[in-house]
């Protein structure tokens, strides 16, 4: 495993340090890899945030988190392709639908089990995941669908450095969303109530915070994050019922790599996994999907608190 990672690194760096003639070109390739990696990493970060917020609020890992991406991607296809709505209307409609979806999900898969231990709740989210995947297949069919993007394959050319516009959009929107989220959690009463609920339910209840409402809001926000991630990433992936699973698993490992339960950890972990995966994918493509897990196992064995565990010990 170690040698696998070092091979990736060695190849990655050797190509643009040793060969002088090729140097500039390969350095640009490398930069492009980093940028597309960061874009994919931003998606992992958004989904990882969805995991972490639910985990902090109710102490369970939601195994249907992947369906929080798959469902809005299909919603988007219905709104954009079937109903032929203009982009702003379609996107707003998808996000509004995700608010309802998050609430319904909480009411069915979590609320009846709220006083149960960890495992039955995990299994209930697995049941919900099977249900959603197969409902989606019945409604939208089994053939992979294409999600119309805003920019098709447009790229920005910066002196030989080509950056996909969709990648830039992903990075920009994620940044704005993270700033909004920071403001929500740190500067508004609602955000503080949600944080208090995550920290200590009993005390929060004693302070007069309606904790069940806060938990429902957390699920809704997590579903919204999934909705945004889906609208951003669906144009560069095929939309199928199984599209969410791998993203969710990698996002989950990212959150552990970053330091589980920590919001900055989820973001940094997601970006880190995205970049490592992009670099490894270039030089060792058969194992691209395993990279996140090699890193995860290495991190868990040698630094179980996560790479960024110490600096961000405070639980948000």
């Amino acid at each position: 495993m170690d040698c696998f990672l070092s091979v990736v690194y060695c190849n990655g760096f050797r190509q643009w340090t040793t060969d002088n003639g090729q140097r500039s070109v390969d350095f640009i390739t490398f930069l492009q890899l980093i940028i597309s990696g960061l874009a994919m990493g931003a998606i992992y970060a958004l989904v990882a945030l969805g995991f972490v917020l639910i985990y902090n609020a109710v102490g369970i890992v939601n195994f249907a988190q992947g369906e929080f991406i798959m469902i809005p991607a299909f919603f988007g296809i219905t709104a954009l392709v079937t109903w032929y709505l203009p982009v702003p209307v379609a996107y707003s409609l998808v996000l509004a639908a995700m608010v309802v979806f998050g609430l319904v999900f909480e009411l069915i898969a979590y609320y009846p089990l709220r006083n149960r231990p960890f495992l039955p709740v995990v299994i209930s989210t697995i049941g919900a995941s099977i249900l959603l995947k197969n409902l989606a297949q019945n409604i939208w069919g089994a053939i992979p669908l294409r999600f119309p993007g805003l920019f098709e394959t447009g790229t920005l050319n910066l002196g030989g450095l080509r950056i996909g516009l969709q990648h830039l959009l992903i990075l920009g929107v994620t940044l704005i969303l993270l700033i909004l989220q920071y403001l929500l959690f740190e500067k508004t009463l609602l955000g503080k109530k949600m944080q208090a609920t995550a920290q200590d339910k009993q005390t929060a209840r004693l302070m007069g915070i309606p904790i069940n409402k806060m938990i429902a809001l957390t699920f809704i926000y997590s579903a919204l994050l999934g909705g945004v991630a889906a609208l951003l990433v669906a144009p560069i992936l095929n939309v199928t019922k199984d599209m969410g699973g791998p993203i969710a698993l990698k996002a989950f490992s990212s959150s552990i790599i970053g330091g589980f339960g920590s919001i900055p950890g989820a973001i940094l972990g997601g970006l880190f996994v995205g970049v490592i995966e992009a670099i490894a994918g270039k030089y060792y493509s058969a194992y691209t999907d395993g990279v996140a897990f090699f890193v995860l196992i290495a991190v868990l064995l040698f630094r179980p608190q996560g790479i960024f565990g110490e600096r961000i010990a405070e639980k948000a």
């Binding site: 089990l113 299994i123 049941g127 090699f294 179980p304």
Partner: protein, 335 residues
């Protein structure tokens, strides 16, 4: 009473292929027996020791590939392939047991998921060793005392024999010193350690047993299907094994068997729903978790308790409702 019940169930298991006579149903019965063995393995780690492992399909796959490669490429007998599959799988089980020293709850779950995904990628990409995405075809049927076990009905009885044997072993282990040590670790690691249970050693033993069972089942699967490919041994399959265990009744051998059989046949019973049957299956899993927190076996036990007035067998619940979540499950990585 208990013995009459077991006798009746055994009799039913033996007569079943004569009632449902099509080859397809025999195939399902073979699968049910094989899944039950894998789920029994998972019962050692999750049910008894409380270690959430989601790599069971990977161990199953390691067993299947070991046995298939030995019999197809090296033309060895099934009777060498089977123990080899069990041994190789158990070795990987011990290997995966080591992270459980330091990790628990979600962290351990994610490590085992990662292990499972990496195993599947290796099966898919190391074409020279495993045949890659094409898989391995032409896996020979086993022979027993000169008889070829070459159709699903014969294979069902063959697999049933293994299942009965392994169920007895599982029951014996559960009530042995090791079984009590497993359960002590599940209930409270610190208290178990204070009473002299060597935690790490028993965790390794639990992981070894779980992989050993999966390895045997993998070998049986390879030789009954005749063809294996990496897709079968996916993370989704590990999840299905987990669902079998928890729906049946985690921690109980009988509950595990019940869960495995139920989950194997449930999609068949739902076929009349046409394309919606898998969706209803998912909804069913969700509803059962809401209404049957202790699994099917817990329900049967409760009914039995109501009628007879005493429990059939003392099965510690998975986690008691109302109690705070286990600290290890929410804290995660330990020092």
């Amino acid at each position: 009473m208990k013995f009459i019940l077991i006798f009746l169930i055994l009799a039913f298991a033996i007569v079943a292929p004569l009632i449902w006579t099509t080859d397809y149903w025999h195939h399902l019965m073979v699968l049910a027996a094989i899944y039950a063995i894998v789920a029994l393995g998972l019962n050692f780690t999750l049910g008894l020791t409380g270690q959430l492992s989601l790599a069971q399909a990977a161990f199953w796959g390691i067993g299947a590939y070991t046995s298939a490669l030995l019999t197809v490429r090296h033309e060895l007998s099934f009777w060498i392939g089977l123990p080899a599959a069990a041994a190789v799988s158990a070795l990987f089980g011990i290997l995966l047991g080591f992270p459980s020293f330091k990790l628990s709850g979600h962290y351990l779950a994610m490590t085992t998921i990662g292990f499972g995904i990496i195993v599947r990628l290796v099966l898919q990409n190391e074409t020279d060793l495993t045949g890659g995405a094409d898989g391995i075809a032409g896996i020979p049927a086993p022979t027993l005392l000169g008889f070829d076990i070459d159709d699903n009905r014969k294979f069902y009885y063959f697999a049933l024999g293994f299942l009965i044997l392994l169920s007895i072993v599982a029951l014996r282990v559960q009530h042995s010193r090791a079984g009590r040590a497993f359960q002590a670790i599940r209930e409270n690691e610190m208290a178990a350690s204070a009473t002299g249970v060597n935690i790490n050693r028993y965790k390794l033993i639990a992981f070894m047993f779980s992989a050993l069972y999966a390895g045997i089942a993998g070998s049986l699967y390879a030789h009954s299907a005749g063809y294996i490919s990496p897709d079968t041994f996916s993370f989704d399959q590990s999840v299905i094994f987990l669902v079998m265990l928890v729906l049946g009744g985690s921690g109980s051998v009988y509950g595990t068997l019940l869960g495995a059989i139920l989950i194997t046949f449930l999609p068949e019973w739902l076929r009349f729903l046409k394309s919606y049957y898998m969706a209803v299956y998912g909804a069913g899993v969700l509803l059962m978790m809401i209404f049957l927190p202790t699994g099917m076996w817990g329900l049967l036990e409760m009914i039995h308790e109501r009628i007879i007035g005493k429990p059939v067998e003392v099965i510690p619940p998975l986690d008691r409702p109302g109690e705070p979540r286990k600290a290890e499950l929410s804290v995660g990585a330990k020092k």
